[in-house]
Symmetry: none
């Protein structure tokens, strides 16, 4: 296991009073997609392990099967060192509030100790968490949403927060470690090991010389009336940072052009 | 209303070959929650406006009702200045890749001009986007997920990206000034307003059609033995984000090539 700032096993998703088994399945899928596994249910208002839950879980139904069912929120978060309640509504009593991004930023510090546990608590589909439940939370978190249409689907809300938690988990990984083979951690454009090395300055200059010669050959370019043609083409190709194979393809095209120009009447 | 860096109306969600009406409804809800409204469907593989779609939309069904249904991806993104394809799998031919966060960071610069449009393209529930569809995109975006369970529900994937787009929109940065919308992560390099508007998807597709014709004419390309030639050239030119004048220069070169080929012995 890599040296992460914390383990995703230190995070728990708690669903209170859920009404729709499909949503429980959807939550399980969103959790497993983001690498979370600890799901707890508090007083669900529906059957939990239905075919709809299994179908929406799409392969994450083991999380539903393993989820303990508690009678009270207190039981579900008993060992948590930070309890964060999802709150869509503004309440009469203001509470310390996170955005999902702020929660993400705080996570590594919260979970420094291996015994630390963060519980993210989500309420009922129709009415959220009660004031009493919200007041059992250290912090509230609110997903910034369209004020005219602010109620997210339960699984969608879990998806956003689990995504932010995973971002925090991925962030401080040591250099050279591949979190995901397809994503480069550098804030660069190319997210993969490229399949051909970058062309060198020399390669590029030889290409530009060849390009100008071929454009003259096909009578597109007149060096006596250069306009900004070569400057514009340089800007275009340099911007793309061509690799060696791309330069070799482009030069092959130039050679084919020159051959046709030579053989033209 | 604050002075936002861009308008959320400049963002389009495109769903290709969706199989489940419930997912279309779920996507509509996720979009409306995040303040997006422009939904386009390409060749859906199901009835679209079903009771399941309306139920999952939970009040966002107007987006489904208003969504145009296109026969091809090209039609759905014809006016887009940046086309980003959601990709879960690693491909044989690597493509410039964003994380959702990098996409979010790039958005204000991409949408500086009020005519700019960003299209986020999502594929089939079972098989995603085809290679041909992915090769019509300037960039790919991949949600960093559990490598052992990486396939998100369609509405969940849209939720994450729409959330990141909304985060970018909410950021109190002033409108992007003096930034070249075409250069990723190198804002200091070309600190000037660009001198020609970006080429649209349509412009680019016409260019690629012309390019292939000209390469056949000079006998560099044999469609019977395509290798990865056109895919590699697409990747090169899409990466550079050509402007309208550059496309016009390149097409001038192609026309000159064809003329010589026609007159060659």
């Amino acid at each position: 296991m890599l040296d992460r700032p914390f383990s995703l096993a230190q995070l728990r998703i708690v669903l209170v009073g859920t009404s729709h088994p499909g949503n429980i399945g959807g939550v399980a899928r969103a959790m497993k997609n983001m690498g979370l596994a600890d799901l707890a249910l508090v007083a669900p208002r529906c059957e939990v392990r239905t075919s709809e839950a299994i179908s929406r879980a799409s392969g994450a139904d083991a999380l539903v099967a393993a989820a303990p069912i508690h009678a009270s929120l207190d039981d579900a978060v008993a060992d948590a060192t930070l309890v964060v309640g999802a709150s869509a509504r503004s309440r009469t009593l203001p509470w310390p509030m996170f955005t999902p991004r702020q929660l993400s930023d705080a996570l590594a510090d919260e979970l420094t100790s291996r015994e630390a546990r963060v519980a993210l608590v989500f309420g009922r589909e129709d009415s959220g968490l009660t004031n009493d439940e919200l007041q059992r939370c250290h912090r509230h978190v609110c997903i910034p949403a369209n004020p005219d249409f602010s109620s997210l689907n339960l699984a969608a809300a879990v998806q956003v927060l689990a995504y932010e938690c995973r971002q925090a988990w991925l962030q401080d990984s040591p250099p050279g470690v591949n979190k995901n083979p397809r994503i480069d951690k550098e804030p660069a454009t190319f997210g993969l090991e490229w399949d051909s090395p970058l062309a060198s300055h020399d390669d590029l200059e030889r290409f530009f010389t060849h390009l100008e010669r071929a454009l003259i050959a096909v009578e597109f370019h007149d060096p006596a009336k250069p306009r900004q043609l070569m400057a514009r083409l340089r800007r275009l190709y340099l911007r793309a940072r061509p690799d060696q194979m791309e330069i070799s393809i482009l030069r092959g095209i130039l050679t084919a052009m020159e051959k046709k120009a030579k053989n033209a009447r």
